[in-house]
Symmetry: C2
Subunit: 202 residues, 2 copies
DNA sequence: GATAGTAGAGAGTGCCGCTATCCATTCAGG
DNA sequence: CCTGAATGGATAGCGGCACTCTCTACTATC
C-alpha cells in the first residue's frame, strides 16, 4: 500500500477523485493502470522512470499507432554506456540497407539501433566478429513472430486496447521470447543431433 | 581501474600471477575475461551476482554442453516475485505437452519456465487472457533462430569457444533479438497494410 | 635512502525503489 | 458533540547494489 502512494507521487498513477479533502476514490481504471505498472516493472524489468515514459506515450492522444510503438520502443531501450565499434556500426548500416530501411541512416539517432550497434560492438570486443551474420536469419524468424503479434493485436477491440496490446505484446513478449527461445534451442539441437548416438553434447 | 579491483574482490576475475608481493601480472586471458564480464553487465544487463553464476558455469569442467547451457539460462533468468496464476501455469504445461516436453512437468522447478508462467500471469492480470496463443507461433519463429544459433556455434573451434559462444549467443542474442524485432514489426505491418491507403496507422 | 607505485582490504558514496513517520483533516460510532 | 480510527499529502529514512575512495604495507626504481 505505501507503494501505491509512492507511485502516485511519482506520477505513475493518476490521482483519485477527491470526494472530500482526505477521501479519494479510485475506480477500476486505476486498478488496471496499477497492474500495468506492475507488469512493466516485474516482467519488463523497467525502471520507474522508463515506466513513466511508456505511460506518457500511451496517454498521448495525438500520434499515430506506428509512432507510438516507436516511442515505446525508445522508452524501453535505455542506451548503454558502451562505446560503439565503427565496424559494428557499419554492420548495422549494411543490415538496414539490405532490408531497404532508409530512414535509419544515423545509427545513433535511435535507442533501438544504438542498442543493436552496442550489442554487436560488445560481441566484437570478445572476439565474436561474425555475430552480424545472425541478423538476417534473426529477422526471418522475427518476421514470423511479428505476424503473430499483428494478428494478436488485431483481435483487440478499441483503440486504447490496441495501444496497450502493443505495449504488452512488445514488453511481455520480449520476456516470453527469451523463455521460449530456450525451449527452441533444446528442440533444435535434439533434432539436429537426433540421429547421432546420445552423446548428451550440445 | 578501481572497478577491476572490485571485480577481483568479487571473484569475477581470477587473481593475477604474483611476481612479487605487490606486483601481479595479467595476461590476455584476464583481459578477455574482463571484456566478457563487461559484456554480460552492459549488454546482458546482469547483476554482479548473476555474472558470477554464469562464470562459474563456464569454468566448470565436468558437465555436458547441454547442461551448461541450461545452467546459464537458469543464471540469467532471475525469478520475479510475481505470484503465478493457476491458469497461466496450466497454459505453460499444455504448451510443453504439445511440444512433447516431458521433463519440465513442474513449472516452478526451473527459472525459465517460472519466468514464462510469470509473464503469462501478468498478461492475464491486465486482461490479456489469450496471450498464450502466441506461444506456438513464437516457437516457430524461434526455431528458425535457434537453427541459425546452432550453425553459428558450430563455426567455433575449441570447446571453450563453444561454451562462450553459447553464452554470448544466448545473452547478446537476446538483446539483438529485441532490437531486430522492432524492425520486423515495422516491416510486417508495412507489408500487411501495404496495399491500403497510407493511413499511417499501425 | 627518497619516491613512486602496487596489492589488498575496509569503509564510504550515490542512486533507486520503496517504506515509515508525521500532521491536519475528516468520517464513523456512540 | 466527542473520540478514535483512517486518509491524503509531504518529508525523511532505509536497504541493496555497483562501484569508488582511502589507508596500509610493501617493493621496485632512481
Amino acid at each position: 500500500m505505501p507503494t501505491i502512494k509512492y507511485y502516485l507521487r511519482e506520477g505513475l498513477l493518476p490521482a483519485g477523485v477527491l470526494t472530500s479533502p482526505n477521501q479519494a476514490h479510485y475506480d477500476d481504471e486505476h486498478l488496471r493502470r496499477l497492474r500495468l505498472v506492475r507488469a512493466l516493472v516485474d516482467v519488463g524489468g523497467l525502471s520507474i522512470a522508463s515506466v513513466r515514459e511508456v505511460l506518457e506515450v500511451i496517454d498521448t492522444r495525438e500520434e499515430s499507432l506506428h509512432r507510438k510503438l516507436g516511442a515505446v520502443q525508445e522508452a524501453i531501450s535505455q542506451p548503454s554506456p558502451v562505446e560503439l565499434d565503427p565496424m559494428a556500426v557499419k554492420d548495422v548500416q549494411a543490415f538496414f540497407e539490405r532490408q531497404g530501411e532508409t530512414e535509419c541512416a544515423d545509427v545513433t539517432a535511435s535507442n533501438v539501433t544504438h542498442m543493436l550497434a552496442a550489442a554487436l560492438s560488445v560481441a566484437r570486443s570478445i572476439g565474436h566478429d561474425h555475430f552480424q551474420d545472425l541478423l538476417d536469419p534473426y529477422l526471418e524468424g522475427l518476421k514470423l513472430i511479428a505476424r503473430a503479434d499483428l494478428e494478436y493485436i488485431a483481435t483487440r477491440g478499441s483503440r486504447d486496447d490496441v495501444i496497450e496490446a502493443m505495449v504488452v505484446g512488445t514488453l511481455i513478449g520480449d520476456t516470453v521470447i527469451k523463455a521460449v527461445r530456450r525451449l527452441a534451442h533444446a528442440q533444435v539441437s535434439r533434432e539436429v543431433i537426433g540421429e547421432q548416438p546420445p552423446s548428451d553434447e550440445v
